[in-house]
Symmetry: C2
Subunit: 414 residues, 2 copies
Amino acid sequence: MGNEFLKIIEVEEAKKIIKNLFKETYKLKSENIPVEDAYNRIVSEDILSTIDLPMFDKALKDGYAIKSEDSFEASEENPKILNCVDMVEAGSFSKKTIKTGECIEISTGAPIPNGADAIVMVEYSEKLEKSPTKDIAILKSVPPTEDIAKKASDIKKGKIILRKGTILNSVKIGILSAQGKYDVNVFKKPIVSIISTGDELLDKDEKIELGKIYDVNTNLIKGAVLASGGIPLTKGIVKDDYNELKMKIMEIKNEDNGSSDVIICSGGTSAGVGDILKNVVDEIGEVLIHGISVKPGKPTLVGKIKDKIIIGLPGNPVSAIIIYSIFIDPYLRLISKSSEKRNNKRRNLELAKRIHSAKGRMEYLLVQIKDDKVYPILKDSGAIASLSYADAYIKISKSIEIVDVGEIVEVILF
Amino acid sequence: MGNEFLKIIEVEEAKKIIKNLFKETYKLKSENIPVEDAYNRIVSEDILSTIDLPMFDKALKDGYAIKSEDSFEASEENPKILNCVDMVEAGSFSKKTIKTGECIEISTGAPIPNGADAIVMVEYSEKLEKSPTKDIAILKSVPPTEDIAKKASDIKKGKIILRKGTILNSVKIGILSAQGKYDVNVFKKPIVSIISTGDELLDKDEKIELGKIYDVNTNLIKGAVLASGGIPLTKGIVKDDYNELKMKIMEIKNEDNGSSDVIICSGGTSAGVGDILKNVVDEIGEVLIHGISVKPGKPTLVGKIKDKIIIGLPGNPVSAIIIYSIFIDPYLRLISKSSEKRNNKRRNLELAKRIHSAKGRMEYLLVQIKDDKVYPILKDSGAIASLSYADAYIKISKSIEIVDVGEIVEVILF
């Protein structure tokens, strides 16, 4: 705490500090939710099978349950005749026990009757219609266990069926359902409060006045937080005023059951605003980073207020989303455990237009992707139009001045 | 309609019929929702800018608004002295008009005062502290329009800002917010009713009885429908009974405002069940496909009841999810307009274990992916354990008998 001077730091150093901050400050929490609402959630513990699957010896084919030795040497030319004493459909079971010379008609999925040890498929049988005693001709010899799935052969009770960290896509939810599970323990999503600051900001549908602009960042960051696997809580617009900003942050800090894990402020455009946030965090928490050697987004702030992480993003939406993507998204994914999904977001593609970059600062640039080629968006970073073309961003190292047409660049998709 | 015989058809022919069915039967609908809830939705019309952006000539830097000619020939050695007559922060504006020899202190984002045509950055100015008349030394010559973003230079009122079909990720939502838009027209998501059929099926938490198994498919298909961009409505379990199934389907057909667009039934395991669904659809609708030459999933049914699409999937969960992925998912994405997202789901990877496939039928196989290698899951298709390992599936053409270790196969991720 206090007002010590914080020097501008390099990108990699900033990432290290932020990663540590997220890992050390955020406590992983678990919650119990219905399986049917668990799509895309992440299991927070190894899950063991509570039952054997199949729960009973099960027919894999439609046909006849028999004692296998009754079929030995049977063939089309030399059928064995068995007496059919019962019929069992999937969902029911037979109370009878098969004796030598008997069989029971059975449907796929039904439990194997007592006394039987094999299934003869219906294709290898023949109903002797005229027989008054329901005789069945068996046309094929089958070995023991033929077309039977033994109890627990699929999954044994007590076996791990889903590992901690598994994303519950449709098939993984299927596994839980096969257990008859009603609920499942999943990681809680981190809760992110979003504040936009700036005297110039209008809320949606407010009347336009000279000098005012509509607030972009609340919804922009909200969408980004959803993509990172967090729960966004929008906290509205705050004026560039020390007391007002402090009150808003204290409100979030003092929420019942401390629901917010992260607070993201995006600053106004005026130079003094970054300092307002810094002064507030200095007073009630600790500033860890104030200034990163990166273009755009130099005045980025990272700090901590008790057990909450606080981030100050630039007010300019293009800068805000780039800084969010580089310095917040990966670590929010880390704590929300949804990091795996992110691998879908990188592509190596060809640059379609030369880029000149300023030496000495890492630069991030919005790009548009057309026909698998990368077009840099060279508007000034205040331009909202950039956002309507932007599909992704690219990184240009601080030692590079020119990236030429045809070079392969890594794009990170929004 | 009627009971005409439907022959088993090839995969490509089935896909064609299903694609046509979805395109012709489903009517694209639009709905109006708040921008803040529109994350990941798809805009249903071209959206035009309702305002100019910037809405006014805007300062791009902190500094002084001047008449540019007042700075001409200024330098560190030969500063020009201007009289500062006002100060304007972002969010406010100055009522004064600059005259020759005057300047106004200005913050980034603030409107350019009348009479000014350029900004001198604060770095190229000096406050003459001792001057009683607030004189400012200008240390650099700047041309007209320097560091000014002209009104409408970013986006002109009436220009298209988002094309029909755009997925509203965070940056696209940012664009709408910059307009102060409260709501947006997006495509309605198709509504999919899900029925599980089978005498053997238990609902979650029901007591286990011999011969019964827990229903997997309701939640499995629910998750899959969410992934395809649809809204799943789960309709519970129906016995393998003509009248019960017919009543359930009639209920869905007669819903107020016909809310379901697609009905997906998954059949029990017994052979007769496919026929029950076929008979119901024959009576109250039209069967288009009954039987596809594919392993697993041969008994798949596709039909139409008035303006609703009806699908019969195999009861076996592994078969059901494979058939869903091949024959339903692409067309549900087509009508939900979320097809683009699917490109993330394909990868070309190396096979780690030889596969033997039955000739004559297209075969689909669940696979596990470890260290970017593809391991086929060779359990019988009734095995639930398959689902706990399955990351993806692969396709094996009907003319291929062996796929060897090291061959590159295309995997389609769940």
